[in-house]
């Protein structure tokens, strides 16, 4: 009996290798609300960015539309670009107004040099 106890004590000197720590199971099982919240946040941020982007695009498009021309034969609020035929007729019929229209178009279609971050200013700084 005493030998048994001694041998048991001898066996207890051998330690079985411990398994790796148990994963955080509760954390895993409770993580779905956090995941849902993250997904909702991503959707909200994505939606807001999309809305802002579209809003800006619409605003830019409105800005870049040619202004109403008072060239004869062209409606004042017309949004479409002026056709070559209309411009030719305007040139023949009313050359001062044609010049004004051309100036206006040039102002809109050519890059602006008076902007704060215009290419010209950037190059001038360098």
């Amino acid at each position: 009996m005493n030998d048994d106890r001694k041998f048991e004590a001898f066996l207890r000197k051998f330690e079985p290798r411990s398994p790796r720590p148990l994963p955080q199971a509760e954390t895993l099982s409770r993580s779905w609300p956090r995941l849902a919240a993250s997904a909702a946040l991503i959707l909200a941020v994505g939606g807001a960015s999309l809305w802002i982007g579209r809003h800006h695009m619409r605003a830019n498009r409105t800005d870049s539309q040619p202004s109403a021309l008072s060239v004869s034969g062209v409606a004042p609020n017309q949004q479409e670009p002026i056709s070559t035929i209309t411009l030719t007729r305007a040139a023949l019929d009313n050359s001062p107004e044609f010049d004004r229209a051309m100036d206006d178009m040039a102002w809109r279609s050519l890059p602006r040099f008076d902007g704060k971050d215009s290419m010209l200013r950037v190059l001038a700084k360098e």
């Binding site: 041998f7 051998f14 398994p19 148990l22 994963p23």
Partner: protein, 165 residues
């Protein structure tokens, strides 16, 4: 009627107390260390998820669960080539690796019931009554299984035991 379910803290305490012994027990069934460890983890994770009513004999439940999982794994892996197991089962407190390997092979050769009894008693610190309950056998049977196991281990390990004094 008081709440009999285990808390997460209870499960962690059980893991700290029986994890190593259960891993040792699982390695008697499953050839590679990683698979045995996964098996033990699976049992504890299941315990955390389901929190069964096992407060009275949690160790018995754990050993049964590990044994069932190990037997299932054994069946599923029977067609696969066993992976070589390079990792030692034991660490000897004084660094006697030879004795640790001798114990490993002696334990591996024991019949499952005897190995189960000796692992529960020595490395899980269970009483013979608890071993009997966990293995669903009468106390006498559990005690004789344990004695047989001890005798076989002593036969193989006596030289090492004598060296230690």
């Amino acid at each position: 009627m008081p709440e009999q379910r285990l808390s997460a803290n209870d499960v962690r305490q059980l893991y700290d107390r029986h994890g190593a012994a259960l891993l040792l027990f699982a390695r008697g069934f499953v050839t590679d260390a990683g698979a045995a460890e996964d098996l033990v983890h699976g049992v504890f994770l299941n315990l955390l998820r389901t929190r069964p009513n096992v407060r009275e004999a949690p160790a018995a439940y754990l050993y049964r669960a590990v044994k069932n999982a190990a037997l299932n794994a054994q069946r599923n892996r029977s067609r696969e080539a066993p992976l070589p197991d390079h990792e030692a089962w034991f660490i000897h407190r004084r660094g006697d690796r030879e004795a640790a390997l001798a114990l490993q092979s002696a334990l591996a050769e024991l019949p499952t019931e005897q190995r189960e009894a000796v692992v529960m008693r020595i490395w899980s610190g269970m009483t013979l009554e608890e071993v009997a309950e966990a293995t669903s056998v009468p106390l006498n049977t559990a005690a004789s299984r344990y004695r047989y196991a001890l005798a076989k281990l002593r036969e193989i390990l006596t030289p090492h035991a004598k060296l230690e004094g």
